[in-house]
């Protein structure tokens, strides 16, 4: 956690060349590493502990919660009802952006250019057909579709509206909690290529982390035990907007307690 806080202290703050960075004071991240978390209010959102979550993962997270209680933190259940829609919203928005961000790889300015193109359209088609892999193409096509006229309102716009509801969900929880404790992934690692045939199954593994990106919140993932096969389980701590210091403090306390870490 010290490494994490050190790096964050260095990279945090306004970047004049990034309009999406904020001009707010950088918190004292190192100072946040007190090693204790007495009185902290930690929420366990029930939506993150459904039957879809691997029991080994659930047990590891719940044991982390027990450690927090033992250290004097208050742990209680909370609810994020909009979470069900986070994954859908995330894949619509991120694919839409990706389809546009990746459009510059058209063979004109730089990067891969297909050979033997007879005209401009051919250059665009061949370069992009040959240059991109399956998953990237899947997202470009999905993103292009949801931004198309006639579909924008039903998909992209709706996803953005959902995003607002998810943000409000989290904001409500942070009125009564300092941070949220969840699994990082509903399962431990699967074999390479095992889920490639079913992308939706693969996307579902992102369910615990994408909501954070959607909501614009700080989160960290730390190791917390292993499953029966010895594969690592991760817990995720989510903080309120700009409260990276709060989750660093909670994570460091767990790490010091011997529960976090390998």
């Amino acid at each position: 956690m010290k490494d994490c806080a050190t790096v964050l202290s260095a990279i945090c703050g306004k970047d004049a060349k990034d309009s999406t960075s904020l001009s707010v004071p950088t918190p004292d991240f190192m100072g946040a590493l007190t090693g204790e978390c007495k009185g902290m209010k930690i929420g366990l959102p029930k939506e993150y502990f459904s039957d879809a979550v691997d029991p080994a993962v659930r047990d590891a997270v719940l044991s982390a919660a027990k450690s927090y209680e033992a250290m004097g933190a208050e742990v209680a259940e909370c609810t994020l009802p909009m979470l069900d829609y986070a994954l859908e919203a995330y894949y619509l928005i991120s694919s839409a952006e990706a389809s546009s961000n990746l459009a510059r790889y058209d063979g004109v300015r730089y990067g891969f250019r297909a050979e033997g193109c007879k005209d401009l359209e051919d250059l665009f088609l061949k370069t992009r057909s040959e240059g991109f892999g399956k998953e990237v193409k899947r997202r470009i096509m999905l993103g292009t579709f949801v931004l198309s006229s006639g579909y924008y309102d039903a998909y992209y716009k709706k996803a953005q509206q959902t995003r607002t509801l998810i943000c409000q969900d989290f904001a409500r929880v942070f009125e009564s909690f300092d941070c949220i404790l969840t699994p990082t992934s509903p399962c431990t690692a699967w074999k390479f290529g095992e889920k490639s045939a079913d992308p939706v199954q693969m996307y579902l593994a992102d369910i615990c982390t994408v909501s954070v990106n959607i909501a614009g919140l700080p989160a960290l993932s730390m190791p917390c035990g292993t499953d029966a096969a010895g594969l690592p389980v991760g817990v995720q701590l989510i903080g309120g907007r700009l409260r990276d210091d709060v989750i660093l403090r909670a994570a460091y306390a767990l790490e010091q307690n011997g529960k976090g870490g390998r």
Partner: protein, 478 residues
């Protein structure tokens, strides 16, 4: 059947900011190819746009000058399409929430003043430029223009003739120049327009189907393209056909437009909010600051010239529309010249020289004091109007005052009666027929003889004195 033409225009004006819209590259015309670019304006992965605040200032100024309301909240959007001059394969523009909306500009028409509605003005970035080499099977791209800030001004379909469209374009140009946000040089492509034309039977309420015409690069081309499109659509209707909604490309050399794409082939630009940029919030204080910084607008100048100087509306409009002419006019009048006389010189001889040498009024090398001096010399009889027209080009050529030029070239008017009498005697001796005509009662002959004496004096003799002395001499001969 009689038809009415309905015209709407989309004008793109390059803003004359020091730097580009999303990076600090120099914003100026020309330069070696691909020397005014950086990772941002050539769209390298990871480079992010940062909005140039002056672009928003200029956009708001244009909006205020065109009586628009300024959005307190607006955003920028991506317009996605593939073309080699667009390095990111999207243009950052504004879609559903433009910076300015619902304004108007005033134009002069045969039926009097008319307001042409401005639907919206938004800010966006320009694309690069494709260079096609003769006979080559490839094209090159110059990205210097990529990321140059633009405003797009969209009019309501309020114009009813090519002349009104021309007046609208002139009004836009003079307004943008007056407020200093664009130099509007058509030859450098800093002002371009797309034209929307439809026709409808006279008296019909609903609009006809419109076509959009692109690649119109001069006001003159705009007028020709509108006339061409109007005539084409009327011919289609007269032949029993229907006008299709389509995009056409104007070819100025051929004087024709060609189908670019039909409605079915229209691009789907997949607009969505630019995630790399924050929304733009404009508060009242910002707007008021800019409002108070606005100079007098061409339409206001025109009004003032009519009211204060009693200039004819026509003169006032032309002078008021040009920064260079209006400054020279006001300085000349301040230096003592009569307003109408100053206006005659500006719109007559001076404009003629500007047109012939393809110069803008801002390039006139002399000031109002010099022009007033020239006018005063005519009025005092020191030189004739004819001579003054010879002095003027010299004033363009160097930095000499009219007095210096007259002295150096020996152009001062001859009012010495002795010298003039010698010339009169000579002319009378050589033009016996005209003298006989005069004696026979043809008073007109005196005009011809005066002209001959003027010629003998190389234009330097005082015409009033000549006439008076001629008449005396001829009467004495009777």
């Amino acid at each position: 059947m009689k038809y009415e033409t309905v015209i709407g225009l989309e004008v793109h004006a390059e803003l004359s900011t020091k730097t580009k819209i999303y990076c600090s590259c120099e914003n100026s015309f020309g330069g070696d190819t691909n020397t005014r670019c950086c990772p941002v304006c050539i769209g390298l992965p990871g480079a992010l746009p940062v909005l140039n605040r002056t672009v928003v200032d200029y956009g708001i100024k244009a909006g205020l000058a065109m009586h628009c309301s300024i959005a307190s909240y607006c955003k920028q959007d991506r317009k996605n399409y593939f073309y080699p001059d667009l390095p990111k394969a999207y243009q950052i523009s504004q879609f559903d929430l433009p910076l300015c909306s619902a304004g108007y500009v005033e134009i002069d028409t045969e039926e009097g003043m008319k307001n042409i509605g401005i639907t919206r003005i938004h800010i966006e970035e320009d694309a690069g430029k494709l260079l096609h080499a003769e006979g080559a099977n490839f094209s090159l791209v110059d990205y210097n223009r990529g990321g140059v800030p633009l405003i797009e001004i969209v009019s309501e379909p309020d114009m009813r003739s090519p002349e009104e469209a021309m007046a609208f374009l002139e009004a836009i140009k003079s307004t943008l120049q007056a407020i200093g946000v664009s130099d509007c040089k058509m030859q450098e492509g800093s002002l371009r327009c797309d034209i929307n034309v439809s026709v409808r039977p006279e008296g019909q309420e609903e609009f006809g189907v419109r076509s959009e015409c692109k690649n119109v690069n001069s006001f003159h081309a705009a007028v020709r393209a509108i006339k061409y499109e109007r005539d084409r659509q009327i011919a289609v209707l007269e032949a029993g056909g229907t006008v299709e909604q389509e995009t056409r490309r104007w070819d100025d050399a051929k004087g024709e437009s060609f189908l670019m794409r039909s409605k079915e082939e229209a691009h789907d630009y997949r607009y969505f909010p630019e995630p790399d940029l924050a929304p733009i919030y404009v508060d009242d204080a910002w707007i008021e600051d800019l409002r108070t910084s606005l100079p007098e607008l061409p339409s206001e100048k025109k009004k003032r010239y009519v009211e204060t100087y009693s200039l004819p509306k026509y003169d006032a409009g032309l002078i008021g529309a040009s920064l260079g002419l209006s400054k020279l006019f006001e300085d000349t009048v301040a230096a003592g010249a009569a307003p109408k006389t100053a206006s005659n010189w500006l719109l007559g001889e001076i404009s003629k020289i500007l047109n012939e040498s393809m110069l803008e009024a801002e390039a006139i090398p002399f000031d109002g004091k010099a022009l007033a001096e020239l006018i005063a010399m005519i009025e005092s009889g020191a030189i004739s109007g004819t001579i003054a027209k010879q002095v003027l080009p010299e004033m363009f050529a160097g930095n000499k005052s009219p007095k210096q030029i007259v002295e150096e070239k020996g152009l001062a008017q001859i009012s010495d009666e002795g010298a003039i009498m010698d010339m009169i005697q000579e002319v009378l001796a050589q033009n016996e027929a005209a003298v006989a005509d005069f004696r026979a009662g043809k008073d007109k002959a005196i005009g011809f003889l005066t002209g001959q004496v003027m010629r003998a004096s190389k234009g330097k003799a005082n015409p009033g004195v000549i006439q008076k002395m001629l008449r005396e001499a001829l009467t004495a001969l009777k």
